[in-house]
Symmetry: C2
Subunit: 144 residues, 2 copies
DNA sequence: CCAATATAGATGCAATTGCATCAATATCAA
DNA sequence: TTGATATTGATGCAATTGCATCTATATTGG
């Protein structure tokens, strides 16, 4: 009976989970300390900002960010209520809607980036050279 | 104004978050499909199994797994109630307690590993050579 | 020793997540 | 066309998480 995942694979997974938890908690802590919302809000704002005028359908956002449908649905409730995102009627699918970032949303994303960017620099950049970071990204890309 | 995190660093973080989410959801989905509890249960069982006879104090488990205190406290309630973990009096600190894995706990961990190990093999092993996995683990290790 | 402080773990309550399922369209096959 | 199926997004309810705070015991400085 050969072991299914070899030791290198297991170690890679453990290291991935650990590194993620560590980086994530460091970043989230900094955002919270600055009185800012959590990363998932940032991710939504950034996707919508990139999408521009046309906005995005919830299901597109859902796939882009790998969110659960019900989760995104409720996150959008909150973000719309907070005035960061506009829910617009969707011309070509009456089941659906179009989401667009608001001016306030853009402003918040910008303020968040100031903290988020610094946090990435500290948590990741401070520990890897640019070359290492590039190699890491490439390797991780294969997992997608 | 120099950008704080350079592009390679940002890419590495994005890739890390994405790879983690993807691998995690694949693994959790397989566990759930097999009617098994989630990874955090596995992590606890495995730590306690490694700790052996002496068991571990909650705060040790907390640090080993990077759990929040209140989170672990409640997880232990559930696992003790499920008969997977024994809560024992702690001889040298009357505030504390000692956690030990039960026989049932060991059995469950074993059954979980069958699924979990396969999942790691598919989600990670299937996409990286042993050499790549080793390199990835090394790089991720620097983030700890 | 004793008061001040720190550490271990629990818990009430609010917010979020997960699960199952629903209603409303859209699409497709006969 | 039309009935069957698929897709989009919402929602009731249970489980989990997060936050703040509490109690009990340990430790430490005077």
């Amino acid at each position: 009976m050969t072991r299914k995942p070899d030791d290198e694979t297991v170690s890679a997974w453990i290291a991935l989970a650990r590194a993620h938890r560590l980086a994530m908690s460091g970043i989230e802590a900094r955002l919270k300390a600055a009185g800012l919302p959590s990363l998932s809000w940032y991710d939504v704002l950034w996707e919508l900002e990139k999408a521009g005028e046309d906005g995005l359908r919830p299901f597109e956002l859902e796939r882009a960010l790998l969110f659960e449908q019900y989760n995104l649905s409720r996150l959008m409730d909150r973000m719309v209520k907070s005035g960061l995102v506009d829910r617009c009627v969707c011309p070509d699918d009456r089941r659906g809607q179009t989401l667009r970032i608001s001016t306030e949303g853009r402003a918040l994303r910008h303020r968040m980036w100031a903290v988020y960017g610094d946090a990435i620099a500290e948590v990741i950049g401070g520990r890897l050279s640019a070359g290492e970071a590039q190699a890491l990204a490439a390797m991780l890309g294969k997992l997608g």
